[in-house]
């Protein structure tokens, strides 16, 4: 039997762990970093490299073009409706679920998570089945000249569906971990329910909300599959930014496609930065 090849470091205060020999450590780190470079860093860098390939003027022209501007406007409107709706739901659901115990709690959490396990294409399809011309409400909507599918309301609905769980699933475990002692103390001291929520609960879940909102927003602005099904692809009217990228790309207008895509890539980087800070704050809060 061969002797153990490990370098054993004496344990003082639990700071030292047994670890692998240095060459193994370096090799594994290198392999991991090369993998991440090939799959994450290069594609991200390529977005910006392609976008600025023909210079800043071409880049700005692609973004200032009327169809691009109208797609940006639609994306902002969509997120401005979808995110607050899901924020209100997330806060309500997490209060009801995390602060109380009742039968069927786990089932309810599973149902809230459901949109995550549905393909984006199906998320769009279900609204076509309800509001489309051949759908349940189709004849009614047509008679009253109301347009939902292949119009802005459909895009917003599909976006609300795909971003539905983000805020709730962040807040439920956070509020469960925080328990209800502080709220009970506030109530005993004479605060009303709403005062308790706004003065005690809200400060405690602030960073959790920011975390959920930033991820919800990223998905709302970037959703492609679901929105693609319900949009109808009417240029300048029902195209969101991701759909506009697709059109430009399919027209072989690569520089413009990547220029518009780079806006979404910027958004992704900002999202990651805010998310990292929020995650750190939540962790810090839970440790205190």
């Amino acid at each position: 039997m061969s002797a153990p090849t490990t370098t054993y470091t004496a344990k003082s205060n639990g700071n030292h762990r047994i670890t692998e020999p240095a060459p193994v450590r370096w090799a594994l780190t290198a392999i991991a970093l090369v993998f991440l470079a090939l799959f994450l860093v290069l594609p991200l860098a390529a977005v910006f490299s392609q976008a600025f390939e023909k210079g800043l003027d071409v880049y700005l022209a692609a973004i200032r073009e009327p169809d691009a501007l109208s797609s940006i406007k639609l994306t902002l409107i969509t997120a401005a409706v979808a995110v607050p709706l899901n924020l209100v739901f997330g806060v309500m659901a997490s209060w009801g679920i995390a602060k109380f115990s009742f039968p069927g709690k786990n089932l309810l959490i599973t149902l809230i998570d459901l949109p995550f396990s549905v393909s984006p294409v199906i998320s769009g399809l279900i609204y076509v089945l309800i509001f489309g011309r051949q759908g349940w409400l189709g004849p009614f909507l047509e008679a009253h000249d109301i347009h939902i599918v292949f119009a802005v309301p459909g895009i917003i609905l599909a976006t609300v569906f795909v971003t539905f769980p983000f805020i709730a699933r962040e807040l439920i475990p956070l509020m469960e971990a925080q328990g209800r002692d502080e709220e009970e103390a506030a109530l005993v001291l004479g605060a009303t329910g709403l005062q308790t929520f706004f003065r005690v609960t809200l400060p405690n879940i602030k960073w959790g909300i920011i975390y959920g909102v930033i991820l919800c927003n990223a998905r709302a602005m970037g959703e492609f599959g679901a929105v693609s099904v319900v949009s109808g692809h009417i240029r300048g009217s029902t195209n969101t930014v991701p759909l506009h990228v697709e059109i430009l790309y399919n027209e072989y207008n690569y520089t413009a496609a990547f220029a518009v895509a780079s806006l979404l890539a910027f958004l992704a980087l900002i999202t990651l930065a805010v998310k990292t800070v929020a995650e750190w704050k939540v962790r810090q809060q839970l440790e205190n």
């Binding site: 639990g14 290069l42 390529a46 309500m92 009742f102 393909s119 984006p120 609204y127 970037g222 990651l272």
Partner: protein, 276 residues
């Protein structure tokens, strides 16, 4: 039950918040999803079976599930490696790399799709080095695997990473004291502890890859029978106003995602029990 709750909990607001939750959940998720099931039940069994077992549709299942399986396997291996390196080894820029792992969550799928197609095409940054060796990635089934690997990576890393962080140093010390080398320790002691979380991450990445659409269609080439994924079949049928066909195929996909979801829940229960 109500009395019981009152005695134990003085917090107000259960009724209104729960009422709103269930109403909103029903309006946005449950009723629309049931539309899919109702529309399918309007099809005759014969039509349904014929649609979902058509040659081109079956080929798309093979492409979708096969590629998702391959991508989840790649992610299981490299995800564990990345998680291990991030937890155990110090290196400069580690926090940046850690944050970057979530890029596939944050980057819109259409952007991921066009940039992966560009990087892995014949004259792209990576593709140009693969092409001379006869490896074509973009516009082949291999491209689908690349896109699915991209979107699935954070699932494995983020499921395994906390488990590695929690590993008790004493277990490894005990193994070392008993004469095991590092590889033996990893294979016989650590890996069995990590296995439930690796499997959960694998299943999550697989589930995400099966339903994925945006990042794949740009790199896949979308050739019927070869590189056409099932979500694209649904879109194509919709564009031809074949609502019934689209619904039938969507129902098969939805059913398979529910099965995967069930497996994931069981896996998570198992890994939680394992952790205790």
């Amino acid at each position: 039950m109500k009395l019981f709750r009152r005695h134990n909990n003085v917090l107000p607001g259960f009724g209104p918040t729960m009422g709103y939750t269930i109403l909103y959940l029903s309006l946005i998720v449950l009723i629309p999803l049931s539309a899919l099931i109702f529309t399918t039940s309007g099809l005759s069994w014969h039509d349904f079976v014929e649609t979902v077992t058509a040659e081109r549709v079956v080929a798309s299942y093979k492409v979708t599930f096969g590629a998702a399986l391959a991508a989840a396997a790649v992610n299981a291996v490299f995800g564990v490696l990345v998680a291990w390196v991030l937890v155990r080894y110090p290196f400069p820029g580690k926090r940046l790399v850690d944050a970057l792992v979530d890029l596939p969550f944050a980057l819109p799928t259409a952007v991921a799709g066009i940039t992966l197609a560009t990087v892995y095409s014949a004259n792209g940054w990576v593709g140009r080095y693969l092409e001379p060796h006869g490896i074509k990635v973009a516009f082949t089934p291999l491209g689908i695997i690349v896109a699915m690997t991209f979107i699935g990576l954070p699932f494995v890393v983020r499921t395994v990473q906390p488990v590695i962080e929690e590993l008790d140093a004493e277990i490894e010390e005990a193994a070392a004291c008993l004469g095991a080398n590092r590889w033996q320790t990893f294979r016989r002691v650590l890996f069995p502890l990590l296995a439930p979380s690796v499997l959960t991450g694998f299943a999550l990445a697989f589930a995400r890859a099966v339903g994925e659409y945006g990042s794949i269609i740009f790199i896949a080439g979308n050739m019927p029978m070869v590189s056409e994924i099932t979500p694209l079949i649904i879109i194509t049928k919709l564009e031809q106003y074949d609502y019934k066909g689209a619904t039938a195929v969507a129902t098969v996909m939805l059913a398979s995602s529910f099965v995967i979801l069930l497996i994931i829940n069981l896996l998570q229960k198992w890994s939680r029990r394992y952790a205790e």
